[in-house]
């Protein structure tokens, strides 16, 4: 990638649209991973709201989102084949052996394969592996950006509660 690492970097302002999307996504991927900084595994597993969401579960879900859009949608492989749950709800569930370290490592590896998967594609290329039908890559980028940013918002509040608690 030729652009800067922050969306506020002036190089990004006028960069090619596809590079711009990648920087926007990377910034949110990093913010999600960093939301676990300095926490204990116990804190990261703590349930703070009525729904199932935990900070660690949120990063697991973000990893699932990467797989759904940058593996399943592009390669048309099945979720079983990819090794991810059938439903988003299940992707939040924590196993006993999930730790901040293991969940972050899986997230980082998955983000790296997402980048490889989109490297050869153009914005108008259609992906065919999503239940919504054929979608151009630009739509997928916007959708994933929206989704990751919303989860960053969840992470903001959960982390704030953990640090105050």
């Amino acid at each position: 990638m030729s652009l800067g690492s922050s969306t506020m970097d002036p190089v990004v302002f006028t960069g090619a649209m596809k590079d711009q999307f990648e920087v926007f996504l990377d910034e949110h991927r990093a913010m999600l991973a960093e939301s676990l900084d300095g926490l204990t595994d116990e804190q990261a597993r703590q349930r703070l709201v009525a729904s199932r969401t935990t900070l660690l579960g949120l990063i697991k879900h973000a990893t699932f989102v990467e797989r759904v859009w940058f593996d399943e949608a592009i390669t048309c492989r099945s979720r079983a084949e990819i090794g991810i749950p059938d439903t988003p709800d299940e992707s939040f569930v924590l196993n006993e052996n999930d730790t901040i370290e293991s969940v972050r490592r899986a997230h980082a590896e998955t983000c790296a394969s997402s980048r490889r998967a989109t490297a050869q594609l153009q914005l108008d290329d259609l992906v065919h592996g999503n239940r919504r039908g054929p979608l151009p890559l630009r739509w997928v980028y916007l959708h994933v950006l929206r989704e990751l940013a919303q989860h960053c918002g969840h992470a903001d509040i959960l982390r704030e509660q953990l640090l105050a608690g």
């Binding site: 969306t7 002036p10 990004v12 302002f13 006028t14 649209m17 711009q20 999307f21 926007f24 949110h28 703070l48 709201v49 009525a50 729904s51 916007l142 959708h143 950006l145 929206r146 989704e147 990751l148 940013a149 919303q150 989860h151 960053c152 918002g153 969840h154 992470a155 903001d156 509040i157 959960l158 704030e160 509660q161 640090l163 105050a164 608690g165």
Partner: protein, 158 residues
């Protein structure tokens, strides 16, 4: 633009039907409220689509605030506004933004056009960047709104 409007609609839905008590509710340690979100995003709309895109000065009430001494003014003062005032303020800001984007597209070309305001160090974002940033900004705040609304009355979803 469709993505941005979906985010705006989500915020409208997350704040719908709540009285001032609901709009002032906080989650845990956070000082973020749903009313504060409406006021903050009204400011953000003015900031990007008027001040940056067209190089305008800030619109009322934002132009009367001393942002250096009170950087969180919109969050702090949202509790003094009624729900109707907050919704109207945000709604008007969105309407104005839509007109300003249409105007920019009609007068100065497509999404690659740069904003009229530039950074002190030089450089200006493209309209495309602004739209992308706004989608991401709304989505993140809608993430806050999800948990706030869930805490107020248990409502979840999109």
């Amino acid at each position: 633009m469709g993505f941005l409007d979906y985010q705006r609609a989500t915020l409208e839905w997350k704040t719908r039907g709540l009285d001032s008590h609901g709009l002032q509710a906080m989650v845990g340690a956070s000082s973020v409220t749903l009313g504060g979100l409406l006021k903050h995003l009204a400011l953000v709309e003015d900031s990007w689509f008027s001040r940056w895109l067209h190089g305008n000065e800030r619109q009322p009430p934002w132009n009367a605030v001393d942002w250096n001494s009170d950087p969180d003014w919109e969050w702090r003062t949202a509790a003094d506004d009624t729900p109707d005032q907050l919704r109207a303020m945000w709604h008007d800001a969105v309407e104005r933004s839509r007109a300003l984007v249409d105007q920019a597209l009609a007068q100065r070309g497509g999404l690659d056009q740069l904003t009229q305001r530039t950074y002190p160090a030089g450089g200006a974002p493209s309209l495309r960047w602004v739209l992308c940033h706004m989608i991401e900004e709304y989505a993140r705040h809608n993430g806050h709104a999800d948990l706030l609304r869930e805490a107020v009355d248990g409502e979840t979803g999109e």
